[in-house]
Amino acid sequence: MEKIPDQLGYLILTEDGAVLESGGDLENDERVATIITDLISLSNSIDPVAFGPEEKFKKISITYDDHWFSICISNKKIYVVKRSIHTSSSEIAVNV
């Protein structure tokens, strides 16, 4: 998890929200862990019309101005990564 580019912090949780591994900004952050597990259980009950019962979410991202959280579940574990968003110098040049 440390090798992910632009990574600011990470969490690996069990399905019930217990922290298995953590690092960076999210080190031992049980508060964020609880919020994210609650968010996942909420997302399971979203719109049955727009998303059929066979359509399970595979990724959740939460985007702020300069960083974002990416959340995935694999092998009954919840993986959370906090990553920074770079505005590259070329983009700024275009705006000017």
Binding site: L39, I46, V49, A50, I62, T63, Y64
Partner: protein, 92 residues
């Protein structure tokens, strides 16, 4: 009274790959919905945006994106109003 809101919803619905749109207030009551977005999901959508806001309450509300294999649901809060857009993933 809701003409302005209807206009915005129409505008969102005319965007390519959008197949549903929903606007709700802070209590989770639906203000407008169109396409595949169901009125009943307003409460859950507001709850999700509130939950996401709790991560960093001092920053401005984030955009939440829920992805399945071929659909995306984007949720964004602005003041007391929460908007959700249901999209089909475009052919990459």
């Amino acid at each position: 009274m809701e003409k302005e809101l209807d206009k915005v919803v129409e505008e969102i619905m005319s965007t390519p790959n959008v197949n549903g749109c929903l606007v709700a207030d802070h209590q989770g009551l639906c203000l407008a919905s169109k396409g595949s977005a169901h009125v009943d999901s307003a409460g859950i959508i507001v709850a999700i945006s509130e939950q996401a806001c709790k991560i960093q309450p001092n920053l401005k509300p984030p955009t939440v994106c829920l992805e399945t294999d071929n659909k995306i649901c984007l949720i964004q809060r602005h003041g007391t109003i929460t908007g959700a857009i249901f999209k089909q993933k475009g052919a990459a």
